[in-house]
Symmetry: C2
């Protein structure tokens, strides 16, 4: 008796109630935690649900509760860049799975153009999702503030810019990671340690630079301006950065690079310049993205715990949806030693 063709009308809570010999109210109570339901009724309802194959109609539920029991995953601005970033994929996957554990669907929202941004903002603020997981590059974008001000639960990945911002976020401990990597390079006996930074208009970029400078200062090494060049996380900017470093600091013996992708660019330049890695110059990256393993030599890097970040983002968002006040979560990074140091 196959059901090819049309979809048959699914059973409702009414059908379940009749099947179990109880009222709709009792079925609903079982569905929502089972408080104030006798064990006998509980059992009868569960059996009826199994027999009928009942699945709650979320639209009907949402209509009355005002909740949608879904959350949005919002990506603002330069989509190409993000979609090429393997870290983004890990994040998206992690969030989807963490939400699935709570039976909450994830809606993917891409706000590339201004039009899309407006449409999506309207969609969100009119209550079609209970909260938003936000991923954005230069995180000082207006969408976050707008949503946050409209009272929409919101958790960002990485620290948002604006100082007064009360937006909750989850991030890796950039400064501490940078400290660890710099210490690691010093521990190899290197003393001319350069750095290729990330974009310095983002908290992450600033923090990684700060950590690097701190450790050099601690070690009593003058923080030479020539030792620091800035990049934008792209591979090409790594190549260019290394060229400038080599020109400014011919006796360079190590580089801390603020992202793995840039670090690959650095490796390329070093190879062209005839410097051996790690013998002549040790190279440390940041992220532990797949790029770190794909390079030759394989990159020593600071692992950002993206699986934990996504899990925490979901946890914090759900807490916020539940009415709790939430704060920032900073997760530790981990040094992964490979061939480049």
């Amino acid at each position: 008796m196959s059901n090819t063709g049309g979809r048959r009308r699914p059973p409702t809570i009414h059908d379940v109630a009749r099947e179990a010999g109880v009222s709709r109210g009792t079925v609903s109570r079982v569905l929502n935690g089972g408080h104030y339901v006798s064990p006998a009724a509980q059992e009868a309802v569960n059996a009826a649900i199994r027999r009928t194959g009942y699945v709650v109609n979320r639209h009907a539920r949402s209509l009355i509760t005002g909740r949608s029991d879904s959350v949005g995953f919002l990506l603002t601005e330069p989509q190409e860049k993000f979609f090429e970033d393997p870290n983004f994929n890990v994040l998206l996957r992690g969030c989807t799975q963490a939400l699935a554990a709570h039976d909450i669907p994830l809606l993917l929202m891409l706000a590339g153009t201004e039009d899309e941004r407006r449409r999506i903002t309207r969609y969100i603020t009119s209550g079609h999702v209970d909260g938003v997981l936000l991923v954005s590059s230069h995180s000082g974008n207006p969408v976050a503030e707008e949503l946050s001000e409209a009272g929409v639960p919101l958790v960002a990945c990485g620290k948002p810019i604006g100082l007064g911002s009360k937006i909750s976020y989850v991030a890796a401990d950039d400064r501490d990671g940078a400290r660890d990597m710099t210490r690691h390079l010093l521990s190899l006996g290197r003393r001319r340690v350069g750095m290729v930074t990330g974009p310095l208009d983002t908290p992450g970029g600033v923090e990684r630079l700060a950590g690097y400078k701190e450790v050099l200062a601690e070690a009593g090494i003058a923080v030479d301006d020539d030792l620091v060049v800035s990049g934008d996380y792209s591979r090409l900017s790594g190549e260019r950065g290394a060229e400038r470093l080599l020109a400014q600091v011919p006796d360079l013996d190590a580089v801390f690079v603020a992202s793995d992708l840039m670090a690959r660019g650095v490796l390329t330049t070093l190879e062209r310049a005839g410097r051996r890695v790690p013998e002549d110059v040790a190279v440390g990256g940041f992220d532990d993205s797949p790029a770190a393993l794909a390079s030759s030599p394989e990159l020593t890097t600071m692992r950002q715990p993206f699986d934990r970040i996504s899990a925490e983002m979901v946890r914090v968002l759900l807490a916020q949806i539940g009415g709790e006040d939430t704060a920032a979560v900073i997760l530790p990074t981990e040094l992964v030693k490979r061939e480049s140091t």
Copy 2:
């Protein structure tokens, strides 16, 4: 008068009707195409919508229409693999954008484990999405058949396996692409043209091999078994495949590789073996993934039109949801000449 803190109750169709001086029914008609509405009423309603900032409550609408006005993007099985595949990202992005143009949200669904598979199947078949965009590696998975039999509109990316399958799909013309590439290699004067195939339990793998063989036969070149080795689209299998090819066919002067990722592996092996590319051996890939540009030398490859594939998937799915009968869509590939040939 900021609205910090709680979210105010959004305006309903009733508010709009009062504001415009018409009835709910008229507002609803304007919202749904504006048939049988006088221009004056039309205008009054639109103005009222703008003034009140009204946004339709999709839950209420879905409750009565039975449609959810959302679709699922379902990824089955080996998620790691797919998430690392840049093509997958292009597909996901393309589908999201194509759907956004129709104001339809995309729900991301990952069915890795058997448990997730069951949960998601229940979710889908109980009408929480209107249709499903399916991406799967070995596309002969049971989910597709199950959903299709339950009457859920479904479009797969790439040809599903099972012969009797009536599932609509969108795919690149693998056979034709393979023919073009093989012809291209022959046009360079190469005569010992090997092939590293994809998995031969998938239609794509089979088709690419078939196209290759056809052209060799046309050209009157014996299709030597030694010339063909099989891979699984992974980089490593490309390396291994090339090793076997070199052992079996020492005078190899070209290779058609069924994916760019494998082609990179082939390049690695050829370099190790001291063969110059393209001087000694020309290498042609398939996909035109970012990997093709990142390799050295840059890969000549057959471009799969992933942006068009995603757009077509959405078009076909919406047609199917609208009740139309839909067929398979095969899109042409395009030869992209670069340094490796």
